[in-house]
Symmetry: D2
Subunit: 154 residues, 4 copies
């Protein structure tokens, strides 16, 4: 998992997804609730999977695919509505049956880091309910995604 | 309240707010959950209040302001992620202590209506817990907002 | 739809579902956000369908079933965490291709009404995307549910 | 943070909070969305703070209090509606300006672990926006909470 003291820079991320903060994302303390950041990561993660050519429909069809096994998030600054954020994603460590995605959440177009985190994604056989080996095709997609960044979203 | 058979056109609305659908807005049936549309309206409503010069901070400061008393929404089409929507808002009937906001939710930049609805907003004295007369200033803001549309959002 | 001035009593409802308010249900104004009530109704509605013998799995299997076409909710009192609520449900008008469910949300075990509302449920052919005639079996289930109340949940 | 391989037992936790899963907690994959677990932890955390005599109202009054700095969660099993869960909480490491809460989410009344995680809570001066030393009183509350379990909730 990520070292909680290290603050990532924008240049580390290869895929970006904008997120518009909704008024309803705030909680009774008047800022974006801590659970919402995971929803922002989720949208970014699904966008990232699509960008490397792997849609959620294939998941249903094949019965094997990525499942969130574990998540860590470091809250760096409180955010209030209205705000425009963007989530950077980069593939981290790749293992036999799992890999990491690393995220940085920034105020849009700035180096102003709001939070950062990491997801461990296991490659699951859904029927069997256990992690299976990452297909070679997926491994190559993930590796390629690190080297040559897909065009950033606006 | 709105006649459920009448489908509003874009030209009826004077204020617009874009809404990016999140993957997490979908429910177990695979489309945007019906409760989320009210969250979209909420963001649009708060944007509308700001556009006519009435921010939520004044609400806290003055102890009087708009409270949602009642809401109706007609679901016209199911929406799945990814989708870009926009919510049109227009002030409807204005009464002694309350007024209506009418909404149309469209696929962004199209006449493709996803749903439409209406909110009854009561002007509340929060401490007393009861509706009070609409201030003349607010009444004028609301009326003006119907005549001369604010610049639409992109 | 429901007359907004009439406040329903507990005795009108035939099915009950408890709802525990979560801290995160509150919004930046410090009370339960207005969109959450529709989520409470949703849980109650699905419980009601199960109680009359119509599970959501049948929906997927048959490709026909209940879809929320329209919803109205009247907010009567603001609720803050912690609170224990319960939602009463009763079948209202039954038409050719749709029917109404009526709801009352109360503080648990009291006559203290928090809000009430109504849903128009259309019987949809999902593939065709249009309302179809209510099956006779469903019509009977709905009618029976009004006469003889199922055992209330605790 | 928690070692991801170690599965906690019920006996490790000193405070319990029941959580009723709502139908709307499920996502398009048909099980409880991964962001919702953090909402379950949040309700449990606030209950825990209240149980050790420290309500959120004091937070607002004093301008100092607990803020979530970091969170980790390990997803062990997928959960579908309907389900009754309960969250166990125990105070972990206590440091100068922060402490850990550890959580286990179980199917209610069983050893069936659904997930477990950990929150780093910083003691913040809200106006200054920085962590300050844990008050001695809070430190004692936290330590006491580990030794003598408060009565578990039903």
């Amino acid at each position: 998992m990520t070292d909680h003291r290290r603050l990532p820079c924008r240049t580390e991320f290869t895929f970006w997804r904008p997120v518009g903060v909704r008024w309803g994302d705030m909680d009774a303390l008047g800022h974006v609730n801590n659970t919402l950041y995971l929803q922002y990561l989720e949208s970014a993660r699904i966008g990232y999977f699509e960008a490397i050519g792997w849609g959620m429909d294939r998941f249903s069809a094949e019965g094997r695919g990525p499942v969130v096994a574990s998540q860590t998030f470091h809250y760096r600054r409180q955010v209030a509505y209205p705000a425009a954020l963007e989530v950077g994603v980069v593939c981290g460590e790749i293992r036999q049956r799992s890999f990491n995605l690393e995220y940085g959440v920034f105020h849009a177009g700035t180096e102003d880091l709001v939070g950062n985190g990491s997801t461990v994604i296991a490659w699951m056989d859904l029927a069997a309910g256990r992690a299976v080996e990452l297909p070679e095709e997926i491994r190559r997609c993930l590796e390629r995604s690190r080297g040559a960044p897909p065009a950033p979203s606006p």
